[in-house]
Point group: C2
Chain length 368, copies 2
């Protein structure tokens, strides 16, 4: 079946939609937990499913380096390899090349770099990235882009954006025709709105199934991020999904939804979960804190997840204190369930036409 | 309801039985996964339940040190604290005092030592150990004993055993009358069968709800362990459960069942699971080994557990290679499910009167 996006409702800038894929539907605004190396860290796929997640993100860069595509292809792709049946979006690797690899050399053709794991020399290009993503058999494929570091030097950002747009074209050609999957373009241009607009227009000329804002979540403030989103989001194709990559905190999500964004991914709920930090409807709890030795309340009774309801803060504090793996599992599980609960409540409020009320009620509480 | 043990069948030395407790029944021969610090490491209680485990073991020593009894007592005991509804056996701490603590000083009264965590001075005696176990509210309570290191010096072992027997008496007095729980005595005496027999007789004179062999799994060979079991097991009360503490490998379990033992605990399936070692019906697999990069078979299709059937050895090898927490979870989960599958097959064979056939079929394959 062809993958589709339907815009179902609009309310105070926020959008309600649904992506339909061969592997299930994704209600938007959607949060995608990150499963870098073909596992959402510390969780089984059953636990991921129980959080209400309808799609996860995996990383082309990491999977290409380890275990390599051969071992995944034998299962017909990532779904079989990791035993996850719902849709998967694969990042193209562009961001990781910038943030993780060493001795990176960029040419028109692609990027040569040394693996951050074993130093091995690797080459990635639009063609290789899309080819790997085909082998991973993900449902949403991202174009291969160049992700420059945060910079105020416009010429650097302009040159980089130009290259990314030529690579976007090559990614589209390599992707070919496959209406069962979606290919998303990635808007670059740093903090320069004119470059961002130019980038978006060039992507629209090529034509993609969705549009992402890349090069954010690289050190800019929330205000700068929102300014970029506010500037570019309204110019994006109304009938295609809009995705801000690598974001963010609960208030980032609320603010970006208000500015018309449909999709998000972030390591935050899983990474902080492994350090004992819990996102809840009553604030962010650092469960390492000694005060939780006396707190016998469940983590968050408002979130419908076993990890949120069945285990006390006292017990979780004990597990963290003993370096027990179960602490990472339970807090990550809860955090992702909390994120999904937030997205669900956002979607319901858009459906009911009271997103603004919901936003106003929650934004301060969730600005932690 | 009073806790009871029923002997249901005997076959070629092996015994089929059932312990009934207020928290559920335990079919014997039974294997108890170890949940040292109120968690079977890397597993949720749901996963523990899915392995078919009917009872787990927790450690008085560890829980007294961290988090302390207050934080557990507020939940009415361990079950509420860790959210596990089935029976729990608590070890008395005697073994851990010997193996983990520092500056241990033994007197008639009890043991003074420094915590292995923060060096804090701690005192444990028969009375304090039983009192802690009452607060933990476990279903099977162990007497507080002195566990000497492996020694061939008979006078050392004799003096230690004498002390343990006096402590067993004090443990019984402190336990008092509570027919909802069981109190087990622990036979000491090292490698000296006459001391073991004397120890058992003195315990039987005091009268316990079950009898354990302690001071094994401290470095002796399997043959020595079996010799001790073979010597002492037939002398144990036929109508009370018989427990070999801290054992063992699959072949240890098979061999001890053949010699009349009903209960076991061991960290082996969980500890080795965290290192990538899997126990299966076709042998012990070191999933770190490069050959598993090419092995797309499930871990063990003969074990009815999601971790055994749904994930390939290739995928597990990848997770281990990436230090993913999920590797520890899945392999521990499988290993305990495998142990429970072994126990179940042992019980069925005793029920059907063909334990000896089962033993002969499996003992070589499982002697890894």
């Amino acid at each position: 079946m062809p993958a589709t996006f339907s815009l179902l409702n609009e309310d105070s800038g926020a959008r309600l939609g649904r992506i339909e894929t061969r592997r299930g539907s994704i209600d938007t605004p959607a949060f995608m937990p990150v499963g870098t190396a073909a596992t959402v860290k510390a969780l089984t796929v059953d636990q991921v499913n129980q959080t209400g997640s309808q799609i996860i993100l995996c990383n082309t860069y990491h999977l290409y380096l380890r275990p390599g595509t051969d071992r995944i292809e034998r299962f017909g792709g990532l779904h079989g390899f990791m035993n996850f049946e719902k849709p998967i979006l694969t990042d193209s690797g562009g961001f990781q090349v910038m943030s993780l690899s060493k001795n990176t050399k960029i040419s028109e053709d692609g990027v040569t770099f040394n693996s951050h794991i074993d130093g091995k020399k690797i080459f990635l290009s639009p063609e290789t990235s899309i080819d790997i993503q085909k082998k991973l058999n993900s449902d949403i494929v991202m174009v291969f882009d160049e992700c420059p570091e945060y910079s105020k030097d416009k010429s650097i950002i302009k040159n980089s954006m130009d290259l990314s747009m030529r690579w976007a074209k090559r990614s589209k050609i390599e992707f070919g025709n496959n209406d069962e999957k979606m290919l998303f373009g990635i808007v670059q241009g740093g903090i320069f709105n004119d470059l961002r607009r130019e980038s978006l227009n060039r992507l629209i000329d090529i034509g993609f199934d969705g549009y992402a804002l890349g090069g954010l979540a690289v050190g800019e403030s929330q205000i700068e991020m929102f300014e970029t989103v506010e500037e570019i989001s309204p110019l994006m194709d109304k009938y295609k999904p809009r995705y801000v990559m690598g974001t963010g905190t609960p208030s980032d999500l609320l603010g970006a939804v208000k500015r018309g964004i449909d999709m998000f991914d972030c390591v935050l709920p899983s990474r902080t979960g492994r350090t004992g930090l819990a996102f809840t409807w009553e604030g962010k709890l650092n469960l390492r804190n000694a005060k939780y030795t006396k707190d016998d309340a469940p983590l968050d009774i408002n979130v419908d997840c076993p990890a949120s309801k069945l285990y006390s803060r006292n017990y979780l504090n004990h597990l963290i204190n003993c370096n027990e793996i179960l602490a990472s599992t339970l807090i990550t599980w809860h955090n992702i369930a909390f994120y999904q609960d937030l997205m669900k409540k956002i979607r319901i409020s858009i459906e009911n036409g009271n997103f603004e009320d919901f936003y106003n009620q929650q934004i301060e509480k969730l600005s932690y």
